[in-house]
């Protein structure tokens, strides 16, 4: 096996290289040759190929993602924006919070347990790398049809992987989503979110500066897992008789990650690092080039000092390996000894692998021979940019014309029919209780969980003395987004914003995970362009900047893409978590109010899916000013003790919200259909900008005055009472019947 050194590359300019197999285009390969003034070495080619991949370089999406910066609302809360491992938001009292949602879709389809487990591991290290202690995780998940045989393979593995990894880290899992739709059959969406907390002065950035400072790699040994495309290079160019394919999915070790968290936090506490980066996608290639690119000066790495799990790995493979549970830190020489001591305390392997240099090159040596000599920025930040063609799909008009009007889709009209529809929606896999899944996650650990699923948002206390807390909700609706990507993305933001406000927290910032099909399909690219435009516009109106996130493309099977699925996470702050508002109707005799306006909006609704398996028409309209007003009212009412329960109205409309609030609180409710409203529309419309609240009678006047003064429609629709849900003049359904319909559904299909 010949080592392809820089010298060798200079002497053999015409050597054949497997750039195409590594996913590079001819012009990209030519660009690399131009940057270097020679052909790349094998190791350099490997680095460029992974760093210029869609996943790392955002080459198809970045022209659209720019809007999140260009249309960024003025916000005093932003401390660190897009471009770092995760954004950081000021939540007051000297605290900063970092959060981010990411995808691990493709690995989770191939190997559900490890794919999902390492998805958690990666996002937790991103949060840790900002200097924060991770305090909670959430998992927005989307699967194929609940009754499809492959869902039985994929879902239990993914759920066990999330539990197996997350539970072992000691991070409460406080929310997320579980959605079933046949469009995700060959492409489940496994998104993972992590929240971390730190003091302002503890924020760390991924940069390498100061000549002579040491580069320390610590955590797990580097193995041959997660190498993916580079095995092409390793086996075809250098050693045709070697192992053909290294496994492309990484294997996680949560115990190692837990030690990494604790040792890193101790290292931060003693202020021992100048810059830090986790090793995720593209492994050492990414960490070294990004650290060097963001700092001043160059970097020199002795690659043969990297601790290995498999000593047959080539330099290319070591650079590409995505072995989990590794971090890279920049440390002043005088602090190296203490750094290593803390790692030893936690049984974490730590090795000085290089140092920051005076030059401007990233130089990587293998047993004394130079195998990489590149300008780091060209690898990390100067990847290609594509302006992919996009066009409104030819089928979009027909889809939108297929509206679920009363003439086209039979609607329930009698009391019995309405009751049957309510039970059918409440018992459908998408609306049924997800406790079989979420009970496999630890929601109690750390002892600061104030709200967790099935509440509207997850809420964590971050200061035990002052009761300061943060809350997060994630939402997305692929059906709405398919009908109208611009509006669908805005509805996802509106729903997450509403969910955070319903819990009593003030929404501050956004992270997004944009799950779409192939960017090479102009239809998909149009969906992407529209969704990002919609989201950026809406963030500007709501005053919640996008702080970071992730794009996942190529989610399709053959020519069929998934529904465009932007998942939006909103982070909020609450000054006093004891004022939080849960969803359950806990007090008999309290009044139930419906806030907002209800229109005949059934396009993309849960009812249209459950009753008719229909998707057509337009999604509900978005009124962002109304969303903001509703949010303000919910937050004020919570702070001033005017409401005891609040639940946002979304999938399944009022009917589903009532079922959930009654079952959670263990109380029934008696309701009257407001005059002028069709009972079916009242119960099943999914008009946005709405919530239900329960109000102690003593607060009714004050609450009404507030809504009246601010111009928010508030309609008294009933009272919390008894042990059944009654829609007067229509039907009565007992809590026992509701429980029967709503629970046990997922386990019957999947357990």
């Amino acid at each position: 096996m010949t080592l392809d050194t820089v010298k060798n590359a200079e002497q053999t300019p015409e050597a054949e290289q497997p750039w195409s197999e590594l996913g590079l285009k001819a012009d990209e390969y030519a660009k690399i040759r131009e940057i270097l003034g020679r052909r790349p070495t094998g190791a350099e080619l490997a680095m460029y190929s992974v760093m210029w991949s869609e996943h790392c370089s955002y080459k198809s999406s970045k022209v659209h993602l720019k809007q999140f910066g260009e249309k960024k609302p003025d916000s005093d809360a932003m401390l660190v924006g897009i471009g770092e491992n995760a954004g950081v938001v000021d939540v007051g009292q000297g605290y900063a919070v970092t959060f981010k949602v990411e995808s691990h879709n493709h690995p989770s389809y191939i190997e559900p347990y490890q794919g999902a487990a390492t998805g958690i591991g990666g996002i937790v290290r991103d949060i840790l790398a900002m200097g924060a202690r991770p305090v909670a995780v959430m998992d927005p998940l989307r699967f194929g049809a609940a009754d499809h045989p492959d869902t039985r393979r994929v879902l239990p593995g993914i759920v066990a992987g999330i539990g197996g990894y997350g539970n072992c880290l000691g991070l409460p899992n406080i929310g997320g989503e579980v959605v079933f739709d046949s469009c995700y059959q060959g492409n489940p969406l496994v998104n993972a979110l992590c929240v971390g907390v730190m003091k302002h002065e503890d924020i760390h950035l991924a940069q390498a500066s100061g000549t002579g400072n040491k580069v320390i790699l610590y955590g797990a040994r580097t193995g041959g897992d997660g190498i993916g495309g580079v095995s092409v290079l390793a086996s075809e160019t250098f050693d045709a008789t070697g192992p053909a394919k290294r496994p492309a999915v990484q294997v996680g070790d949560p115990f190692q990650e837990k030690l990494l968290i604790e040792s890193t936090l101790e290292i931060f506490a003693e202020k021992l690092v100048l810059g830090i980066q986790d090793l995720g996608g593209a492994g050492l290639s990414c960490a070294t080039s990004e650290l060097a690119s963001a700092g001043s000066g160059g970097m020199r790495i002795e690659l043969d000092t990297v601790p290995l799990r498999d000593n047959t790995l080539s330099p290319e493979e070591i650079l590409m390996s995505e072995s989990q549970e590794r971090m890279c830190a920049i440390v002043e020489p005088g602090k190296v000894a203490r750094f290593l001591e803390i790692c030893e305390k936690w049984d974490v392997i730590a090795t000085v692998i290089g140092e920051v240099t005076e030059g401007e090159r990233l130089e990587i040596f293998w047993h004394g021979e130079l195998v990489v000599d590149v300008p780091p920025r060209s690898v990390a930040h100067d990847g290609p940019t594509y302006n992919r063609p996009y066009a409104r799909p030819s089928w979009q008009d027909a889809l939108q014309a297929d509206a679920p009007t009363a003439e086209r889709l039979l609607r329930p009209s009698t009391g019995e029919e309405l009751k049957a529809a309510l039970l059918a929606v409440a018992g459908s896999p998408n609306q049924a209780s997800k406790s079989w899944i979420t009970d496999q996650y630890d929601r109690y650990v750390i002892g600061n969980t104030v709200l967790a699923t099935p509440e509207d948002s997850g809420m964590i206390r971050i200061d035990e003395e002052t009761n300061l807390g943060v809350s997060v909700a994630t939402d997305g609706n692929g059906r709405f987004t398919k009908l109208d990507p611009y509006t669908g993305a805005q509805l996802a933001l509106a729903e997450a914003y509403r969910n955070v406000a319903a819990g009593g927290a003030k929404p501050l910032a956004v992270s997004d995970c944009l799950n779409f099909g192939s960017p090479e399909d102009p239809d998909v690219m149009w969906q992407f362009a529209e969704a990002t435009r919609g989201l950026a516009d809406a963030c500007l109106v709501l005053g919640t900047p996008v702080t970071g996130g992730n794009v996942s493309l190529y989610n399709q099977t053959g020519d069929t893409a998934i529904h465009p699925t932007p998942v939006v996470a909103v982070l909020g702050v609450i000054d006093d978590v004891t004022r939080r508002t849960p969803i359950g109707f806990a007090e008999e005799g309290q009044l139930v109010y419906l806030l907002g306006d209800t229109a005949d909006e059934l396009g993309g609704s849960a009812w249209s899916q459950v009753a008719h398996n229909h998707l057509g028409g337009l999604p509900p309209k978005v009124d962002l000013e109304r969303e903001r007003l509703l949010g303000d009212i919910l937050i004020a009412a919570s702070r001033d003790g005017m409401i005891d329960a609040a639940h946002d109205l979304s999938d399944g409309g009022l009917a589903q919200a009532l079922v959930e609030s009654c079952l959670k609180g263990g109380n029934g409710a008696r309701l009257i259909v407001p005059t002028g409203l069709d009972p079916f529309v009242f119960l099943f419309s999914e008009s946005a900008g709405r919530a239900i609240v329960s109000i102690p009678r003593s607060e009714e006047l004050r609450f009404n005055d507030m809504c009246g003064a601010r111009g928010l429609p508030a309609t008294r629709i009933g009272v919390v009472d008894g042990d059944s849900l009654e829609i007067q003049g229509q039907f009565t359904v007992s809590l026992a019947e509701l429980t029967d319909a709503h629970t046990g559904v997922i386990e019957a299909l999947l357990a």
Partner: protein, 225 residues
Amino acid sequence: MTTRVGVVTFPGSLDDRDAQRAVRLAGAEPVALWHRDKDLHQVDAVVLPGGFSYGDYLRCGAISRFSPVMDTIIEQAKLGMPVLGICNGFQVLCESHLLPGALTRNDSLHFVCRDQKLRIENAETAWTRDYSAGQEIVVPLKNGEGRFVADGHVLDQLEAEGRIVARYLDVNPNGSYRDIAGITNAAGNVVGLMPHPEHAVEPLTGPSTEGLGFFTSVLKQLVNA
């Protein structure tokens, strides 16, 4: 003088800070103990917290049992020091042979996290004096390997000697023999419990505050001793 209750941190311990909080809310001083340190730093009692010590590799609790700190704890427990093992801590106590039986994989084969109703069967141990026998409480339960198993004659002996501290009510969440949620040694100073009382000490974050009794019980025991 404030009572000092040690909480051991093994690599992979997760509920150590929660146990410290519960000790503090009960009115004692929590003292962090490190697995590599044999010294118990003059504590009056010890809690082995929940988690996945040493990654639960080999067998839950099997490696922790050989930690330097455990040598001293085993020695002191035999001399009467109150020791409470919660979840993973219970597993460590069984592996240490301070308690009989073993904890195996849940019969559902899934990790389960739920609010669990228990009945306190023995209110005379060092850790349950603040309860009354037959009292029903709700505390969180969260485990993947919480199924208590033992030979028939061991189970009979535990029953006969009143050494079953708590039993699951309504639902047996993991298939534990005879619905056993916790047991004690013959002296009543060592208690192993699969559910998590330290997660039921504040109305804000727990399903109840009915777990606090375990931590207040030991204070009374020590003051009276």
